[in-house]
Each structure stands twice: as structure tokens, then as C-alpha cells.
């Protein structure tokens, strides 16, 4: 990796302090009449992996989608409360949602590469945001992003082939490369490994740990082992309520709430 590309990502990593990158205060989400998320307060620190766990329908994905306003797309969804990114209200009228999503990238549950070439998949974000000055620049960004996603060695000879032709695990790493090509500050991951086999999962988890150096990561997962492996902080949701939030080690070894204890010991879920 060249020095130029290193500095490109250094900028996007911002300060390496553990201050709160994203804060949520009294966040409520309603889908029509359904109160899906109830009064959630949460601080997400920079350069950490924050895991959101909880049984199905507990609101963890809903919360994740509030952070880059993907809930705006759902008819009848309403969000109240305050969510800030570096102190700025992301639901403020003056804030442009396109710019917000450039700063907060997202990786989805099912690998969803565009039906275009591997190169075009990664280049799409930089292209629409005008991040590359020249085609050499663009190529640099694409190669670096693929390298950081640990995919470059596997695909370097077939960048022009369709991204949909890769295996599931490769596709998901391609989606991660696509997300980091925009050099966001925060990456949201919605159960990124649920459609992958154990080996591909291990690779993605390893990748998440490396990415933490430059990005703030929020990951929703169904697997408690995964949360324990990759995250520094864990939030446990149940029925739309944030039950417990703390250091991952503390949550898994010494949960303060009975509900949390019940869930992580597998008594329900």
C-alpha cells in the first residue's frame, strides 16, 4: 500500500480518541401505531466496535437504521428524540441525508453487490461523491479499499467480472470494500455474517477487528459468540427497550440485569 492511500484513510479515521462519536438521547421509533423502540439512550465511542444484541424483533436493527436514516424510506416510520454525529443532530432539517450516508456507511445482512463489475461496485460511491480527481485516483481508491477488505488478492485478476459472480463471503467483503471506499467515519453492519459459512464469517470478523483502527463500527448480530469476539461494547435490547449497555466483557461475564443474564445464558432468545 502506498503512502498516499494510507493518508487517504487516515483522514477518514479522524481522531483516535475514545470520545462519543454517535450519541442517542431518548430515541423512540414508531411504525404506524407500533412503538418499536422506546426511549433509547446510547453513546457509541469512536474506533470501537459496538455490538447490538437481543432476540428477534427487539429493535436492534431499527436502532441501527436510525443512525443513517434508512428508516426514512419506510412509509409510516417516525423517529423522535436526538441522535448526533460529532455533536450534530442528524435529523436536523439543514442536514443533507445524502451527505450523512456518505459519513455513515452501511453493510447489509444479505450480501448485495450491484449487478456490475467488481471494480464498478467499489468505484460507485467515490464516483457519485466525486472523491476521485482522475481515473488513476479512482483506481487507487478501489484497489486500496479491496485490500483493506482483504479481498484484493482473490479478485485482482478479475476486477472486470461481475461482483455477483463471487462466493457469498467474497460478496460480503466486496460490500464492505464498497462501503469503506467512500471513507465513512462510521460503518453500520446489519447481521453481516448471518448468510455466510463459518470460514467466511471468521474472515469478516477478522476484518471488522482491523477496520476498528480507522472506523467506528456498529454491528447488529444474532450470535452472542460473535458479539463477544469482535466488540468492545455491547448493548442488549429487549422488546424495544435498551436493557443493558456496557463493556462487552462485563456484559458477558457479569450482567447487571436478570434479563441480560437470561438471554446470554440461552434461557430465552
Amino acid at each position: 500500500m502506498s503512502l498516499a492511500s494510507e493518508s487517504y484513510f487516515q483522514q477518514s479515521g479522524r481522531a483516535l480518541t475514545n470520545a462519543a462519536k454517535v450519541t442517542a438521547r431518548d430515541v423512540n421509533v414508531y411504525y404506524g401505531d407500533k412503538h418499536a423502540l422506546k426511549a433509547v439512550d446510547l453513546n457509541i465511542r469512536a474506533n470501537e466496535v459496538t455490538a447490538l444484541i437481543g432476540p428477534s424483533g427487539c429493535g436492534k436493527s431499527t436502532f441501527l437504521r436510525c443512525l443513517n436514516r434508512m428508516n426514512d424510506l419506510i412509509d409510516g416510520a417516525r423517529v423522535t428524540g436526538l441522535i448526533t454525529l460529532d455533536g450534530d443532530d442528524i435529523y436536523d432539517r439543514s442536514l443533507d441525508v445524502v451527505q450523512l450516508r456518505a459519513r455513515i456507511g452501511m453493510v447489509f445482512q444479505k450480501p448485495n453487490p450491484f449487478p456490475k463489475s467488481i471494480f464498478d461496485n467499489v468505484a460507485y460511491g467515490p464516483r457519485i461523491h466525486g472523491l476521485a480527481q482522475s481515473s488513476a485516483d479512482l483506481e487507487e481508491i478501489v484497489v486500496t479499499s479491496l485490500q483493506r477488505a482483504g479481498l484484493y488478492e482473490e479478485v485482482k485478476d478479475r476486477l472486470v467480472e461481475p461482483g455477483t459472480g463471487l462466493s457469498g463471503g467474497q460478496q460480503q467483503r466486496l460490500c464492505i470494500a464498497r462501503a469503506i471506499a467512500v471513507s465513512p467515519e462510521v460503518i453500520l453492519m446489519d447481521e453481516p455474517c448471518s448468510a455466510l459459512d463459518p470460514i467466511a464469517t471468521a474472515k469478516v470478523e477478522e476484518l471488522i477487528d482491523e477496520l476498528r483502527e480507522n472506523f467506528t463500527i456498529v454491528i447488529v448480530t444474532h450470535s452472542m459468540q460473535q458479539a463477544a469476539r469482535v466488540s468492545q461494547r455491547t448493548a442488549f435490547f429487549h422488546l424495544g427497550v435498551l436493557v443493558e449497555f456496557g463493556d462487552t466483557e462485563q456484559i458477558f461475564t457479569n450482567p447487571q440485569q436478570k434479563l441480560t443474564q437470561g438471554y446470554i445464558t440461552g434461557r430465552f432468545g
Partner: protein, 434 residues
């Protein structure tokens, strides 16, 4: 002991399953039979339709012509010898044809009735042919040429066996006329030659000179206008309704109305076109441009509905992926959703166009049913359209128009086949895996 009970239970169950299995197979077999039977019935009707159309129509592709030695007599065509265009164009070419015929049958030369009978055997198109030759190349004047010239449609019908020789069975020729025809036939001067008028001429009162080209060009211009208007309008409407508009009472009302419009009889659109385009906007009557406007109204609902279905079929995660990267809604649609929906949209559009090509009712209302001889040179010239031409010929009393009606239907079917083949080609070309 318990083992034995289990054994018994298992065999009893499998017996029941077996009994049902036979029934299931029988039902499946019956269903398959029904399917095949219905396909066979549908194909049979299609075959009957095609055979009857082609069977009636194929004879129209050839036409009886006569070989005559024409003397381009300078004293008849251009007595002054100036060779001016005006003189050449208004010369009495029919006289040349008459001279050639009386030279061939001298016995008719001095009998007025016989002359009239003889001259009625040849088409008026013969003198038009001679005129065209002279206008193209005045140097033929003064020479004698062996030329193939069109016979009257009734002679053609007689030779094709569509008309009886017997006057009591509808034959219209006298024994003397039949004698002349037989004499020409015996000397090898009559032949069925390719009917060039059918593919190059506009409509005509003389069946042997009538062609579909005017209607084909009219249909083509109408279609051009229809595509140019209904494709962008339809696709833009579908994109807006599907990707941008929020679901509320207004969009529900619009949706119901669009679906309703698809089912409105096309004559209603014709009346609307008559009132709006002709009476309010004062656009020219009988013009393919106005026909195209009316057909746009007919095909628009089909295109909107097909495009919306195609857009709906694009998986939602493509949209999420694009928006998640910070694409705007318009970028999401233009870069990802529309390209993936394109095959479906194009198929829908061409189905809409095929419907428009076959539509005659709205064109009747805006005057494209007029008798128009000239081939239109622009979309604003008066013209007719293929289905309307079929309607006009089907309503004509002459026996020769029967085969021409079928020939026009064959041309229309070929037109549609080309369009549908284009649809398949475009779909294959734009289709992508995802």
C-alpha cells in the same frame, strides 16, 4: 411386541399413502392432458386463421400482365418535337396502348363496340407506365418496345380462377372478349408477374393498381409519433409513481384511473382526439401525426402499467445498497433500478406499440379512413394506416380486393412479427443477472 405394533401401523399408513398416490398421479396426468389439449386447440385456431389468410392472400402477390409491342410514336406523344416536360406529361399515352391492341387484333379496329370491349381488358395503369417511362427517358420516343403492362383486375381474377367464364355464373366478359384473352394466352403474351403495385402504390379505385405502401408509411409515421411520446411519458410516470410518490389517497386515485384507462375502448380515445386535437388545436385531419397522438392515449396506460411492474420486480436491496452509499433517489433510479427494469419496460412498450399498430377505431375518428392515393411524405400529410386500409378493402365490392385484403393482413402480421422479434432481441440484450 411394540415393534410388531409399529410394523402394522407403518404398513397401514403406507397403504393409505399408496392409495392416495394413485389418485394424485391420475389427477396430475389429467391436468397435463387438459393443458396439452388447450394448447392444441389454440394452435389449431391459429393455424386455421393463418391458412385462410395466406390461402386467400398469396395470389395477390402476383398479377396478370400482357406483353405488347408499343410503338412510342413521336407524332402522338410530342408532335412539335420540343420534348418539353409539360407536353410529355400530358400526352395521350392511352392512344399508344390502343394502337398496340388494335395492331394485335385488327378485326376490332373498325367496330366501335369491339374497340371498347377490347380496350377494357387492359388496365389504366398501362398508360401511366408508359408515361413514367417517357418522363424518365425521353429517348424512347420513336422506338418500338416489347413491354409488360398490367391487365384489368377482372382479367387477372379470371386467370386466377376467382371468376367464372360463364356470364350466368358472374362472369363479366363476352365470348368475343374471352376469345381475345385466350388468343393472348395461347401466344404466351399473358403472364402472372410480381405485383409491384401492391408494395409501392397507395390506395386506388382500380384493384390492380392499389397498394399498401401508403398505409405502411402512414402506420410507420403514426408509430414514430406514438413511441416518441408514450415511451418517455409512460416511463417517467411509472418511475415517479413507483419510486418517488408517497402512498396516499391521491396516488391511489391516480393508480385506479390508470388501470381504468387501460380498459377504455379505443374508440373513446378516438373521440377525445377528434375533439381535442382537431377541434380545439386545429391540427390537420387524416394526418399520421394526429393518429400518433390518439394512439399515444391508447398505449400510455399499457406502458405505465408494464413499467411499474418491471420497476417493482427490481429487488429492494438494490435500492438499499445504493441509498446506503449516499446515492440520491434519482441516482439510485438512474444508475441501478432503471437499467435492471429496462428489459421489462421495453417488452411492455413494444406490446403497447403492437396494440397501437393494430388499432383502427381511434384512427377512424380523426379521419385516417379517407380515400388517399398518395404516399405521405411527412407525418403531417393525409394518410391512412394498415388496419384502416384492411377495413377499407374489406368493404370494397370488387372481387380483386378480397385477395388484397388478405395480402394487407399478411403485411400487417409481418409488421407485428418484426416488432415482437425486436422486443425479444432488446430484452435479451439488456437482460442482466443479479
Amino acid at each position: 411386541m411394540t415393534e410388531m405394533v409399529d410394523q402394522v401401523r407403518v404398513s397401514a399408513t403406507s397403504e393409505k399413502v399408496n392409495a392416495r398416490l394413485q389418485r394424485r398421479y391420475a389427477v396430475e396426468k389429467r391436468f397435463r392432458f387438459y393443458g396439452i389439449a388447450s394448447i392444441i386447440i389454440a394452435l389449431t385456431f391459429l393455424a386455421i386463421l393463418l391458412i385462410s389468410i395466406v390461402g386467400r392472400g398469396y395470389t395477390a402477390f402476383v398479377q396478370t400482365e400482357v406483353r405488347l409491342a408499343i410503338n412510342f410514336d413521336a407524332s402522338v406523344i410530342d408532335p412539335s418535337g420540343g420534348r418539353e416536360k409539360a407536353v410529355l406529361s400530358s400526352a395521350d399515352y392511352a392512344a399508344l396502348v390502343r394502337d398496340a391492341l388494335t395492331a394485335r387484333f385488327p378485326e376490332a379496329a373498325n367496330d366501335r363496340q369491339a374497340r371498347r370491349d377490347l380496350f377494357s381488358l387492359i388496365s389504366q395503369g398501362a398508360d401511366l407506365e408508359l408515361r413514367k417511362m417517357v418522363m424518365n427517358d425521353p429517348s424512347v420516343i420513336g422506338s418500338t418496345r416489347d413491354l409488360w403492362l398490367p391487365m384489368a383486375a377482372a382479367v387477372d381474377q379470371l386467370r386466377k380462377g376467382h371468376m367464372s367464364r360463364d356470364a350466368e355464373k358472374g362472369g363479366q366478359y363476352t365470348a368475343r372478349q374471352l376469345g381475345w384473352i385466350d388468343s393472348l394466352e395461347a401466344s404466351g403474351a399473358l403472364a402472372a408477374r410480381f405485383n409491384k403495385w401492391l408494395f409501392t402504390a397507395g390506395d386506388s379505385r382500380q384493384p390492380e393498381l392499389a397498394g399498401v405502401w401508403g398505409a405502411v408509411v402512414g402506420s410507420f409515421y403514426s408509430l414514430l409519433v406514438t413511441v416518441a411520446l408514450s415511451f418517455p411519458l409512460g416511463v417517467a410516470t411509472a418511475i415517479y409513481l413507483e419510486e418517488f410518490a408517497s402512498r396516499n389517497r391521491w396516488t391511489d386515485i391516480i393508480e385506479v384511473n390508470i388501470n381504468n384507462l387501460a380498459a377504455v375502448p379505443s374508440i373513446v380515445f378516438g373521440l377525445l382526439g377528434l375533439e381535442i386535437f382537431l377541434n380545439v388545436f386545429n391540427l390537420p385531419r387524416s394526418a399520421p401525426f394526429v393518429g400518433g397522438l390518439a394512439l399515444t392515449l391508447v398505449s400510455l396506460p399499457t406502458i405505465i402499467i408494464a413499467s411499474r411492474v418491471a420497476l417493482k420486480a427490481v429487488p429492494p436491496w438494490i435500492r438499499e445498497a445504493a441509498l446506503g452509499l449516499g446515492a440520491s433517489r434519482l441516482q439510485m433510479v438512474m444508475h441501478h433500478v432503471l437499467p435492471l427494469a429496462m428489459p421489462g419496460i421495453l417488452t411492455g412498450t413494444i406490446i403497447g406499440m403492437a396494440r397501437a399498430v393494430g388499432e383502427s377505431a381511434p384512427l377512424l375518428m380523426i379521419g385516417m379512413v379517407a380515400f388517399i392515393v398518395d404516399v405521405p411524405a411527412s407525418p403531417m400529410d393525409p394518410s391512412t394506416a394498415l388496419p384502416v386500409q384492411i377495413y377499407l378493402w374489406a368493404a370494397s365490392p370488387e372481387r380483386a380486393f378480397v385477395e388484397r385484403t388478405s395480402a394487407a393482413i399478411i403485411v400487417l402480421l409481418c409488421f407485428l412479427a418484426v416488432m415482437n422479434a425486436t422486443a425479444i432481441y432488446l430484452r435479451k440484450k439488456f437482460e442482466r443477472r443479479w
